[in-house]
């Protein structure tokens, strides 16, 4: 039951934040930069926190992965990506459609990689602090 409520709250706030971003920036670009931004930021945070969780399971609440999945899963979206790609393709912007799709994947991977990398650095730093504290 606790799980159920956590996922629901995560989904509620994730979807709200996505709508908020879309409402703040109504400017029309050649490719849908709003969704692109939301998706890659979501990838970065997801990989960053997942790497921390996997390596520090004993120290982090077991509900943390569910919070991530609920919140960031709802924040990022795959269906809108498909919709916007099709709209670009149907408007005869075939180049922009493919460009948008490729950019989403490449930047998604780059941000996933940097999130993982940063998390590993944080973990190293964490370990150093523990060693120093034990030494004192």
């Amino acid at each position: 039951m606790k799980k159920f409520i956590i996922i629901a709250i995560g989904g509620f706030s994730g979807a709200n934040l996505r709508l908020f971003f879309n409402n703040v920036n109504k400017h029309h670009y050649e490719i849908p930069l709003n969704t692109l931004f939301i998706n890659i930021v979501g990838c970065f945070l997801f990989c960053f926190f997942m790497t921390l969780i996997i390596n520090k399971q004993d120290h982090i609440s077991k509900f943390f992965p569910i919070i991530l999945s609920g919140f960031l899963g709802a924040f990022t979206t795959f269906s809108t990506l498909c919709k916007e790609t099709v709209q670009l393709l149907l408007n005869e912007n075939i180049f922009n459609g493919i460009y948008y799709l490729v950019l989403s994947i490449v930047l998604g991977f780059v941000f996933a990689l940097s999130g993982t990398y940063l998390a590993k650095k944080v973990l190293l730093f964490w370990q150093k602090i523990i060693i120093i504290r034990e030494g004192l």
Binding site: A8, G10, N16, M50, T77, S79, C82, K83, T85
Partner: protein, 117 residues
């Protein structure tokens, strides 16, 4: 009011994604992330269908932006693709390319389905 509707849809979408994803993963025993795959493709098809129907703005926000936006996910998709990439590079490429191809095709199918029928 639209924030309440998008949130309500988002909560339901996240719940369905979590429980359906867990159910599918428990049934399949391959390393291929079948759960997210099926969820993303069905979400894209459904979004196409709902976008081809004209409906009230609030209901559209509830279903399209809230429910289907939260039901499908890009972050888990990339995370799984990224992890596959670290183990088996070809599997990761196949997963990503097939997901995108079927997602785009699924959305197209969704908006055309009523015209075909």
């Amino acid at each position: 009011m639209e924030y309440f509707f998008v949130g309500l849809g988002g909560a339901c979408g996240s719940l369905l994604r979590y429980y359906l994803g867990r159910f599918i993963t428990s049934k399949s025993n391959s390393s291929f992330p079948l759960g997210t795959f099926i969820i993303n493709i069905t979400g894209a098809i459904l979004l196409g269908i709902f976008n081809s129907i004209s409906m009230d703005k609030n209901i559209s926000i509830l279903i399209c932006d809230g429910f289907l936006g939260a039901y499908t996910t890009f972050s888990t998709f990339i995370y799984e693709g990224f992890n596959l990439f670290n183990n088996k590079k070809t599997n990761a490429l196949v997963y990503i390319i097939i997901s995108l191809f079927l997602g785009v095709l699924g959305y197209l199918f969704g908006i055309k389905i009523f015209k075909i029928i």
